[in-house]
Every structure is written in structure tokens, then in C-alpha cells.
Subunit: 201 residues, 2 copies
């Protein structure tokens, strides 16, 4: 059986849980307490030398890290990755946008705020992450105006990746009030058949 | 002809120039002065709403952003993207590692230092970026010990993506002295047939 090395709180882990569920693939979870350094032990570093969840462990023991790489791996040959070469490239574009321009701002502020981690080192970074987080939401809002999904008007891993931390943006004190197209898209994703909540582990 | 919207200084742009050259694909370049906001004009935002180079414009005018998404697009069906499904997933893993754990540290410090951009807002972030940059190099060093390339013992876009900012790490004041496996890998990439320098535009 597939084994997901995960943290219940993680939106990056949730991406993988959501896609595995949509695909009907059974899996078992191993939970790590990242606040206590459980992903920096010698045992975990053998699974992912970069010390981060999620990691997907295949039945033969091989391991794959990076949530969006796991999404691509699982989605290949399914309806969640576009068949058209250019649309597939656009899905990749949004996956990299998510990890570079979105997650480091929305996910990091959510993590720092909900776990009360804003100390002297992090406080000077909050304003920049707030500004860049809203810039990412602005890009999403403009793109979604007149579109139902991010790529090719179909639900894909681009939506799954961006949904993970956007739908809990309020936990990082981002206000989505002026992002109407984003809010309608969030409702659309949540209404997809087989959808599960981030709290379902 | 393919058109690359680019900045000569950019390692992300260099990744694409290098792969286009290795593939023997002719292209024309459009240069943008990112220090003067040339990628934040209304004209540029029509190419990439996220306001960043590189952007690959196809012959029919369609545009693709995010350097690593462009690499995947160009490499599909060539020897620079593994044929094996799991090896292809590992290449993706390293591409996401590069954009999340490597580029925001090594590339950003290189940019700030060479362009003298360390102001009051950025100064508190330098130490963290230094520490996380070395952490990324540590992961690369451990992985490359006993390996010739990042995935499947063959030169791939995983190597191209990670080479771009690693081989100019000194410009961000990173010292590679204790990274022997990384330095030998840099030499190996530079010796690949058809290799071009970052300064070749």
C-alpha cells in the first residue's frame, strides 16, 4: 500500500491526501510532529534529505518528496493532468507559481500565526510576506475572472495545489473579501465529487 | 521563431537559454531591465501577470512563464527528461526543490549583493537566507556523493535547473570549498557538449 509521510496540519500534505482520495487510491499515513523536529531525525532524513513532509513512499520503498512533484506523479495519465502538451505546461506553470509566489507567503504566515511562532527573527519578514501574499492572490483573481478553473476549464492538479493554502488563507489573516473570482473558484473546487476537507486525515 | 523574454543577469533565464541551445532550437531574446521595473509594465503583465522573466512566447503568441515549467515543456520527449515514470518524478522533485529551497536563498542573495540592494527591509533576512542556502547545498552534496548527475545518472533538466544558480553561488558570497561533490558535478555539467556560459546571450 502507498504510505504518505505527512502532517495533519500541512496544506502540502493535504494536496496529496486530496488527490489520492479523488483517484480512489488507498494509502496509509504516518504523522510527524514538525514542531518537535520529527522530520529532521536521521530516520526521516533517509526518506527525504531535505527534511520536509509530505513524502510518498511507494510499495517497493522508493520515496518521492515535494508535494507538487507527487501530484504530477500521481496525476500522470489521469483526468487531473491535461493531455494537451501546452495545457500540461500551463499546469506546471501554476504549480511552480504556487511554490514560489504563493506558498512561502500564505502558508508561512498561516503556520507562524496559528502556532505563535513570530519571534525577533521572523517579525521583520511578516510585512513582506503579507504584501507578496496579496500579490499572488491578485494574480489568481485576474486569471480566474471569466474562468472556472486554472487550466483548460477543467479541474486539475493546478487547482488542487492552489486550493490547499488559499482556502485557509484566513488562518494566516489574509482577507479574501475583495477576491470574488477566487472565492467562487474555492466553492467550485469544494463541490467537486469526492472532495475531502483538510481536516480529514 | 520562439521568443524568450529574458534578463541577461537572470539564472532562471539562463536555464532556458541553455536548454534551447542544447536542443538546437533557434530563438530570439527580448531583454528587460528588471531593476527599472520593465517586467511590471502593463505590456509585460499581458505576457506574464506575475511580472517575472523568463517567459517563453511560442510562434503563435501563447506564453509560458516559470523557468522550470518552461524546462519541462521543452524537454518533453527529449533526452533531458527521463523516460521512466519514477525518474521523471524525481526530476520534478528536484525542480521544486530548486524553486523552494535553493533559488530563494542562493539567487536572492546573489541579486541583492551584486546590485547592492540590501536595505533596512532586507537586512534582517540575509542571515536566514544564508543559513537556508547552505542547507540546500548540504542536501545537494549528500545526494551527489557517489552520483554523477541528479537523476538516473544522466544529464537532465534537474541538473540544468540546479546548475544555474549554484555555479555562480560565489556572487552571492557562498563558499563552495567544502562541497567537493557539488564542485565536481559543476565541472561535469560545464563539460557537456554544447554547453554555454551564463554570460552568453
Amino acid at each position: 500500500m502507498l504510505r504518505l509521510h505527512d502532517c495533519a496540519f500541512s496544506g502540502n500534505g493535504y494536496k496529496v491526501r486530496l488527490l489520492l482520495t479523488l483517484l480512489g487510491l488507498p494509502f496509509e499515513r504516518v504523522e510527524y510532529d514538525i514542531l518537535r523536529g520529527a522530520t529532521r531525525t536521521p530516520e526521516f532524513l533517509r526518506l527525504n534529505p531535505n527534511g520536509r513532509v509530505p513524502v510518498l513512499e511507494l510499495e517497493d520503498g522508493r520515496c518521492l518528496a515535494e508535494s507538487n512533484a507527487i501530484l504530477v506523479y500521481l496525476a500522470e495519465g489521469t483526468r487531473f493532468l491535461p493531455q494537451d502538451r501546452f495545457e500540461r505546461a500551463l499546469a506546471m506553470q501554476w504549480l511552480f507559481f504556487e511554490q514560489y509566489s504563493h506558498e512561502p507567503n500564505l502558508a508561512t504566515l498561516r503556520f507562524w500565526i496559528t502556532h505563535r511562532l513570530i519571534d525577533e527573527e521572523r517579525r521583520p519578514m511578516v510585512e513582506g510576506k503579507r504584501r507578496w501574499g496579496y500579490a499572488a492572490l491578485d494574480v489568481m483573481e485576474r486569471h480566474l475572472a471569466g474562468r472556472r478553473y486554472f487550466v483548460g476549464e477543467r479541474y486539475s492538479i493546478a487547482d488542487i495545489a492552489l486550493y490547499a493554502y488559499t482556502h485557509v488563507a484566513d488562518e494566516g489573516e489574509f482577507d479574501l473579501a475583495r477576491y470574488g473570482a477566487v472565492r467562487r473558484w474555492l466553492e467550485r473546487v469544494a463541490a467537486e465529487p469526492g472532495h475531502i476537507a483538510i481536516t480529514r486525515v
